[in-house]
Structures are given as C-alpha cells and as structure tokens.
Subunit: 345 residues, 2 copies
C-alpha cells in the first residue's frame, strides 16, 4: 500500500502527455494530492500548490509519486538527486518508470537509512501463485475492451465512484501503473509471469463477504495480438459477475497496429462472455462505455443510441454523460445475485 | 542452442516420473544421447551406457543435461559438485530445474574459467519484444488441447518426424522445458512476462521462405483457468495455418482442479479456431490426437471413430497408431496454400 497523502513529482516535463499518470492521480484522488514539485517554471503543471519536500512533509505528505513518463523510462541524475532529497526529508517514493528504484543502490541505501519505502508500481509483487479458478464470494465488475487505451481505467473509476455515491461498498482494483498510483495498491498484470496472470488477479480481488463490490480495471483486448494473453488471464482471474465493454468511437485501427481494424462491439462482448464463463458461468453484461471524444455532441448521442439498440444494453460515455445507467444495471445484477447482502444500505 | 551430443545426468532419482525429461530426450533424440550418469546403482536408469564426464567428453559429448525433477526443483550439494566436475571436464551444462545455474556463483565461475556455457531452459530469454501479429511467411502447425498434459509435445514431435520421413523440411519449435532439451532450443512460454508471450512465439517461429514447416508445441488450454493466458498468447503468436487438437480420453477433470470437467472437443476446437483467426484468418483444423492409454484397444478405436464422425477430421492416437492421417491432412493444407513451395520434394 502506497501511503497517502502524496506530493506529485513532475520533474521538468514539457509535454502534457508525459504527466498523464500524475494527472490521473490528481483527478481521481484530489484529496490525497497536497502539492506538486516541478524543476522549472516552464515544466508542465497540474495547478497544485508548489512545494519543497520539507514543506510537503510539514503538511502531512507521506509519499512522493513519480507520475511522469520520459524517453526510455529511466531516471535522470537530477531525478535521482531529487528523490534522495525526498527520502532524506522523510517521504516514501513511488515510481511508475521502467527503471526500478530498487535497482538503484543510492536510493536503496537512503531509504534504508531513513526507514522509508520504495514502491516500483510496474514491478510484479513476489510470491504470486498459479490461479485455480475456484468460485469465491463477492461481486465483481470487470471492464473489457475492443482495444487498448479505450477508457477501461476511467470507466472503472467512474463506476466505483458512482457506486460509492449510492452508499454501496465498492473498491477499485488496479491492474496498471496509473490505476495502482490512484488506488495506492494493485498488480501490474502485464508485468506478471504468464503462468501467474490469473492467480495474480485472484489475489488482487480475493473472496469478500461484506456485500461490497470489486470494480476491476481491465487491460488490453482479447483481439489485440500483442496483449490478449494479459486480457484473458485477467478475465479468468477476475471471475467477473458483470462485464462492462469499453470502446472508442472512430478509432481507425488497433493501437499500434495500422491496418488492423478494431473488432465489432457485439463480437467483442460475446467472446468476452464466452471466455468469462470458464470461471463464472453466471456472468452477464451490464453496459457499454464509449469514448466519444472524437465526435460532436450530436454524433455521440447518435452512436450511443445505435449501439444501445443493437446490443440491448445501456450505452454511455463515462466522461461526457457519466455512468449512472450502467451502474443501475450493475446494482440490479448485484441485487438479483445477492438479495440479502445488497439490501437496506 | 544447446550443443549436442548429450550426456544425461540422472542423479540419484528413485522414481521413474522424476526422470521424465531425460526420458523424453532419450526417446526423441536417441542419436544425440551418448550415455547416462547415475550416482548410485539403485537410481533410475534409461539403459544408456554409463560413463564419467571425462569418458563422455572423449566420446564427443558437448553438454550434460540435468533432465530430472526433484522436490523443490533445487540442486543438492552432490548435484552441484557433479556439475563442477562436468564443467572441468569440458562439458556445457543444461538444466531444467527451477533453481537457476546462473544464480550459483561456483558454477558461473567454473563455466567462465573453462569457457563453457550454462543453459537454464526454464528461464525466458532476454530481449523479448511485444508481438505485432503481422502475417509472416511460412507454414505453421500448432497443437492445442482440452487440458494440460494431454500429449501436445508428443504429438508435435510425432508430426515433425512424420513430415521429415516424407522428405519435407520441418522444425519442431519447443515451448516447454522438455521440448527445449529435445530441440536444443526454444522458449519456455510459461516463464515469459505476460506482455511478451505472443512476441516470444513470433521470435521462436520467425518468417521462413524455404517451403518448410514449423511444428509448434502448444501449452495448456484456453479452458484451463490457471494457464489460458499462456495458451492464448501462444496461439496468437504462433499464427498457425493448421491446428491439431490434443485430448486424453477418460480424463476425470482438468489437471489439478478436481470437480472441473474437461471441455468438449468440438467446443475446444471452435474456440481455438476463433481465437487463432485474430492473427491468421485462414487457419483450419487438421485433426485430433487422442491419448487413449486408459482404454482397451477396442474402446480406443471406438472413441476415435466417434470423434472422427462428429468432427469430420482424422482422429488418431499419436502413440498407438502414429499420425499419418493427420499428417496427410497437414500436407494437403500446405499444398493448398503453397502449391509451388511444397511441390517436387
């Protein structure tokens, strides 16, 4: 567990995309972000209070998050000396870079000396087991997609928030680096040894008996030739009761693969349901979340309505219109399956 | 590439199952196995000529294979001193144990001093890439299964041998530790980081332009909740032109999962074909290999005939009856797809 509150380290990034992870944390955990640290006035900012490590500690910060991406995913000498300063000031460090904190002796030594913790959020945890597919208690929602980067994390977080707003117990279960920084914990499934993918998700979302809901962040697509192994192991390990299909309207081709068309929504949903039945024969679909940011308001509504007519499921753009109707359906499924547990809250 | 010929190290194993890997190598690469090394007269034997490391080197051996499994997959002190002796005598060492040779300083030092190579066949190679699913030249056969351990390696090797006997160019592409020791190279796909599974198989079976055939060893099952991620990544990366479905008759439940029934043959085949079309829309099924070792001769024939009638494909037990009819179908598919390349040999 990454200890909150956080100071967000933005380094000297000059490209809005490079601070995507930090922006996600600021958006979904605003209460947990007490400030930002930039290395120059020209660097990208999230508009949070600028502060030094000592100031952040004085205001209660527990961890500095390196929520930036740079060429090659390695730390610069300047990044490293900043993190040494943060450790000396009393902060833990969490990093989403490829280059691991634990592989840098100076940081390891400074963390040890100061009694601080280093979190490499891209690194798979130790001690993972092979999955067994045995049915476990609890109610699980999983987002799946026609492609990578179609809004599965965003949709999962939006559903989790909507469930909480309705007074239900819900936990977002993160499977990617940004999600892990937002949740404060999780498993980066695409970095797990292939034999342990489903087992790692069984561990991420264990049996729960409190009537609450796990909303599990999906990854990739069963139709993406680069990443389908991750998607299928995640689907089997999640043992979802309910799937929410995510899609981006007007995407020209599968991410990173020009010329390869995005699969159809009905086929994607059917294939995911088929595969999900291996570990949960009672799985159903609760809705479709379409990222319509490339479309006008009118075209977006038209596209959503067409898909809704075609699939007979609520279709929403989680960013534009929220996920209330998809959440209605999820709650209905929960009540059908757990009439006692979900009543009266 | 593991250099042949081999000396097979059998240690002090007292259980026939524990030398399964060594037995596979002796069975499929008899010409490459010039002797065996046991630590006591009561240890399991493969009936090969007993010899010391010096004797093996004198007869041309290049590598000692640790083709045994023991509790925990670690080397005993005695195993280690044996391997030091082998390295000093001038042999490379290849190990299928979980505990890696490269993590044992005494072995690393002895290998360096003697200019020898250490092969950890369970370790994924460095430098793996994400797959891209782009169609590549060549003709590929992949074995898939209803479950783990139903004979995919055996069937792949039998098909490869049959193709060679017919004068065709064929290469067995290994994806598990026993297969890798038999082939002398390969990728242990279940030890690959999940993001790189399909890419590792693209690298294992690259484009080929010689009209020859890659017979790729399948792993696991799309229906096994522990290992389906491996199976799907392998299926997408293999980009097979032809699938051969493997099954064991009378298996009571999925391997390691009492109570979980083995999926039906028709459903397994259909699901594998569907998924395979993501990277090769022209994929077809060439036959079914059923391990009928639990059945009488008469029952075996009855079962094979029933499946043949049901699926309309040649059905054989690769051990009992060979794979000639499945191979006929494979060659027919090859000729349909590559009429020029496969003619006249």
């Amino acid at each position: 567990m990454i200890a909150a509150p956080y100071l967000l380290y933005l380094g000297d990034c000059r490209d809005p995309l490079s601070i995507k992870t930090a922006r996600g944390v600021a958006q979904w955990r605003p209460d947990a972000c007490i400030g930002e640290r930039r290395l120059s006035a020209r660097a990208e900012s999230l508009g949070l209070a600028p502060m030094s490590y000592a100031e952040a500690v004085a205001q209660g910060a527990r961890t500095v998050l390196i929520g930036v991406a740079n060429r090659g995913g390695v730390m610069t000498d300047q990044d490293r000396s900043e993190m040494l300063e943060a450790l000396e000031a009393g902060l833990d460090v969490a990093s989403g870079l490829h280059q691991r904190l634990r592989d840098q002796p100076a940081l390891v030594e400074a963390a040890r000396r100061n009694g601080r913790t280093l979190h490499d959020v891209r690194a798979a945890p130790d001690g993972l087991q092979v999955g067994d597919g045995v049915r476990r208690a609890g109610f699980r929602v999983l987002t799946v997609g026609t492609d990578c980067s179609v809004g599965k994390m965003y949709t999962s977080l939006a559903i989790d928030r909507e469930l909480r707003l309705r007074g239900l117990r819900s936990d977002f279960r993160a499977t990617g680096q940004t999600g892990i920084m937002i949740a404060g914990s999780g498993v980066p499934v695409d970095n797990v040894i292939s034999d342990f993918v489903s087992g790692s998700v069984e561990a991420l979302s264990p049996a729960r008996h409190d009537g609450g809901i796990d909303v599990i962040e999906g990854q990739g697509s069963l139709f993406h030739p680069s990443y389908a192994a991750v998607s299928l192991g995640l689907l089997h390990g999640a043992q979802p009761d309910v799937l929410v299909l995510c899609h981006e309207a007007e995407r020209a081709h599968m991410r990173g693969l020009p010329g390869r068309p995005v699969p159809g929504l009905a086929e994607t949903l059917e294939r995911n349901l088929e595969a999900a039945r291996v570990t949960n024969p009672d799985v159903s679909a609760a809705g479709v979340s379409i990222n319509t940011s490339r479309l006008s308001e009118i075209d977006a509504r038209r596209v959503c309505r067409a898909v809704e007519d075609d699939l007979g499921l609520p279709v929403e753009d989680s960013w534009r219109t929220g996920v209330s109707r998809i959440t209605d359906r999820i709650v209905q499924c929960l009540q059908d399956l757990q009439p006692m547990a979900s009543a009266g809250r």
